[in-house]
Symmetry: C2
Subunit: 401 residues, 2 copies
Amino acid sequence: MPWEEMWRELAPVGRSAATGGYRRDAFGSAERELSAWFVEAAVERGLEIEHDAIGNAVAWWRPEGSAGRGVLTGSHLDSVPDGGAFDGPLGVVSAFAALDLIRARGATPQRPLGIAAFVEEEGSRFGLPCLGSRWAVGALAESHANELRDRAGIPLPDVLAEHGLGLAPSRLLDDVAVFVELHVEQGRVLAELDQPVGVASGIWPHGRYRFEITGQANHAGTTAMEDRHDPMLTFAMTALAANKQARLGGHRATFGRVDVAPGSTNAVPSKVTAWLDARAANEEALADLVLAVERQGSERAGRDGTALTMTPESVSPLVRFDPDLAQRLAARPSGRLPILATQAGHDAGVLATAGIPTAMLFVRNPTGVSHAPEEFAETADALLGVEALADALLGMAGVLR
Amino acid sequence: MPWEEMWRELAPVGRSAATGGYRRDAFGSAERELSAWFVEAAVERGLEIEHDAIGNAVAWWRPEGSAGRGVLTGSHLDSVPDGGAFDGPLGVVSAFAALDLIRARGATPQRPLGIAAFVEEEGSRFGLPCLGSRWAVGALAESHANELRDRAGIPLPDVLAEHGLGLAPSRLLDDVAVFVELHVEQGRVLAELDQPVGVASGIWPHGRYRFEITGQANHAGTTAMEDRHDPMLTFAMTALAANKQARLGGHRATFGRVDVAPGSTNAVPSKVTAWLDARAANEEALADLVLAVERQGSERAGRDGTALTMTPESVSPLVRFDPDLAQRLAARPSGRLPILATQAGHDAGVLATAGIPTAMLFVRNPTGVSHAPEEFAETADALLGVEALADALLGMAGVLR
């Protein structure tokens, strides 16, 4: 089945008619439908499917004559709430298409080729990005996993159990020698360079930081302005400070999620909880950025009579992808692919951090918009991505010792 | 049953062990339990209970010799989320206690005395404060009531139907000549004057205004700061502007409720919806305040590349309580009660606006905190409130023609 046909099959799954965005929450019905589609696509191609307890899947092609640890590609199938179609599924669909292309060429890789689908990459449900790949490489303690809850307060183990899944250790990646993930670009670098495909050099360090600002609930009408301890004001100043600090330093800082208690129109809030997503080119700059935001927020809290505490929820260090691999992927017969850094976390970053030689391919996104319905890649660009991926997989299977 | 005993009975109903606040959502289980308590308290006293279709109740005492239209007191039994114990129930409990006191004195009012409990005064569930009293006086169109939904999206008629209630027109107040509502003070005026009880002169005009700020959802990592259209920044500046405008003018402005879409930590939001509660001493000042906040928010929206629209959801005009009644209530044998304005909406305001001569008594709140667990009145002050209310009821029943 060609790339375009697979893409059409997935297009309606989890799409909201109201927003045009995708709601493919980890372990939700749309994401489970995509997981079932993954199994069907693998079965159609005669691949051997392996799952680990948490729900990650790898479909292996072990052609006669192939030997040794395998070459893995793939991505994830979940989305952020009202996200785009491409973030995740593009890598999975393109992996199947690359395998089809290799077979169509009559080529036989020297090593097994695997296609992976990792669960809960976005962290939209349980708050921890790359949950599935972290579990697969053993980078997530069972005690931590047991504590994770979704927004409805349901613990991860309960959600897993509902789907016949659990937290047994994963051996899924034991036979993986190298990993390459294809992904839609989430910025405009390739568009500005007028290049359809690029190679990743690494991932900026980044983290999620929970800001809890406590004030005093009170009547919105009768409480004089000067008698208030309003955490909304502290939050507002903190959000503006984060934006300014990131602008000044060329970093990224975003408050995209806010909970207000009690959340009543006619009550001064008692508490605002807000999550900062912060990223910078190096770890020192990231630490300085978060510190500056916390300091400015705390200064405002002093004036508002509120209290601010900041808790890092997850911090991912700088990821450097394998430089030799990147150079090899960039050297294409049609011309050298650009090599660029990304500010987005990926399962590839988790595997690289775990010591698996890893590379990433990016496909051009005309507007750079992602995590939104407008996220997009031209089919022609996607097909060039499939070619680059097929060559990368064959090349890696050949050169690895 | 004395005031203190009634108070003890109500204390545990709807109280959250986690926050210490009350969750007496309109038509929720705690509020329904309080409604059942109201009926029991009325039956114990041999009162005649009337309900209207929407669930408002009046318990009438029509002693032999009384005649003509009645004197009504009472308040409401619902609370804001995690609100205090006093806002509403103090007026209802004190009404029963005042009736008991009148009977204990052996006094017989010249007119029937009624005790009211109005539903959904806070507007916390359906977004429209004083829903019950508005319905009772015919100030809420059925078409509007049919459109009201709670946060879960359940229409008001469905919630009513669940409890055997509905939207038939109310005749509950047809026989009411005058209304007096006793309420805990929601500011610190009485505390500062060292007075246990006061009389209301009127209610500031006030309103709820929905600010919808639309931007562009995008990836929180890969989207350069200068490429964003982030509605959270526009909201933050709007919230700070509202606070500053209210401070400068001696008004009130509060953002206590915010919804963020998609609400994901790693996505720049596509939309922020926030509700402004604004109040001022007169209608012109209120209009100016809201206009200034909207203008400053829109200016920031221009810089953020977002779009801001403001929609008034409910605006209540200035309420002037009957000045003669207020003077009469203020003249107490123990000394003159202070007369003060309030910034809070009340069922009394709705009845006054509908043309029923109306007064309010306030009981001192030491810290002024309300709509929060710390809302408080001393029992000694509450009992002085009961005395003032009993005298007011007898006095009105006597002087009315």
